[in-house]
Symmetry: C2
Subunit: 118 residues, 2 copies
């Protein structure tokens, strides 16, 4: 795992609830990382399968995000022997994000219901 | 509340766990929105107080994000009569994000511990 927490990079020592949220978003923020991690939590996938599951993401962006996720220890790339294809799988560490993904999932669903009611 | 869920905008009807995570991130994603919401969950704040609490965010960005958060029903701007200053407060709807903020906070703290151990 190559990444550092944002406040570690900045040489600060403070941990409080706001900084921890910022730290988390520094590593897993952005529009695509958590959706990719959520998709892979459902099982190993090929590049094209991930792209199909996460709407609106170009191949170039997915390629970049997968490299970042691999570098940061959330995803591994491997040769699926039986199918002779490259697949991606989520790591043990990415499974520590389960609660975050679940909370976002739940909120997203309730938000959609709210939006539809209006 | 003016925002729509991403899949609502795109005219799609599908709800599944990946889309809900994407929807959530479409509305509250990015580097600053959740940290701002987290800071305001701790009490009403002036512009400068929010800026001091969320490290690395310029006044221009904060101004833009606060407008977006206000437009989307997460934050309200009001005149604090006693102090004669403008303050921002989180809305009832932003408090529905409590679990998301808590999960990110918890993950961020554990991540920092992990990074420091290496």
């Amino acid at each position: 795992m190559q990444h550092k927490a944002k406040h570690e990079v900045e040489g600060k020592n403070c941990i409080n609830k706001f900084n921890a949220v910022e730290d988390a978003l520094y590593v897993i923020g952005g529009r695509w990382r958590l959706p990719i991690i959520a998709v892979l939590s459902d099982g190993n996938k090929r590049f094209i399968e991930i792209q199909r599951s996460v709407k609106g993401m170009s191949a170039k962006v997915l390629s970049h995000e997968l490299k970042e996720l691999e570098l940061n220890g959330f995803v591994t790339r491997f040769l699926q022997d039986e199918k002779h294809v490259i697949e991606y799988r989520s790591t043990e560490y990415s499974r520590t994000l389960k609660k975050v993904v679940h909370a976002l999932d739940e909120w997203g669903k309730n938000h959609l219901i709210k939006v539809r009611q209006r």
